[in-house]
Amino acid sequence: MSVGATASGMSGDPYKLGYSHHGHLEPGTDEATGHGEGGPASKRIVVAYGFWIFLLSDIIMFSAFFASYAVLSGATAGGPTGRELFDLPRVAIQTLCLLTSSFACGLAAIATRLRNHLWTQIGLLVTGLLGVVFLALEFQEFTTMIAQGAGPSRSAFLSSFFALVGCHGLHVTAGLLWLGTMMAQVFVKGFQPPILRRLMCFSLFWHALDIIWVALFSVVYLIGAYS
């Protein structure tokens, strides 16, 4: 039975199950109604959902690191505290870098939808460069702290700090490697469906990293520097 989606309940679809339109599809719609009719959802939807679930599991892993940091933030073992160590102007620049790189990633996504090679690559390149600046600043901060004797083995507070911020930095590094691979793939293979799905997954990942950084700089740096 192929029924159009009319408003009246008497048209044969009293429970509003929705039915596939059998040839009357507009571009941008999917035969799968999401209510059990029309077959499985399209690959792009399934891939996006699966990757979203992975991102949530990653955020749960970060929450474990956050919980450790929150519990141990006072355990300075007589060593340096957050207030002495954190350099807030650098944190502000890092935040701006990551936020602007998220914005650039969004611009790249728009360019991808327009199938514009040049602007996609430019957007992805800007995303990557800002990510590199972020990592360089973080690396500089870590080396400064270690040189001052405030390394991860100094106190429980510092161990949990390096674990949490370091984990985020590792994620950013992995993301940059992935970004480089994606730029190469777009350059060589063009905008094929698997490449488009991977670009979508990458932008989900990059925005999620920025979300985690928001929590990080608020809880670790701002609360730590002023509490």
Partner: protein, 81 residues
């Protein structure tokens, strides 16, 4: 159906090597492990064909054959030995 691939196994091998090297501070092995894992990722990402299709009739044919073999085996078991 997705095409089979050894990527998971190979990546797991390289990351195990990396983990072992990190524990024992064998830095050159860490580099090899990480580079190997990333190289596996890139090689896997580059494949052009990642799935194959086969028609429903073939699935039905395989299923019919399996049911036939099973029915025969059950009938054979039911015969007094």
């Amino acid at each position: 159906m997705p095409k089979n691939s050894p990527t998971g196994f190979v990546t797991a091998f390289f990351t195990s090597v990396t983990g072992f090297a990190l524990i024992w501070h064998i830095w050159w092995m860490v580099v090899i492990g990480l580079v190997g894992a990333f190289a596996t990722f890139v090689v896997f990402a580059w494949r052009d064909v990642d799935e194959y299709e086969f028609p429903a009739e073939e699935v039905a044919k395989i299923d019919r054959e399996r049911r036939r073999v099973r029915a025969e085996a059950i009938a054979a078991m039911r015969q007094p030995a």
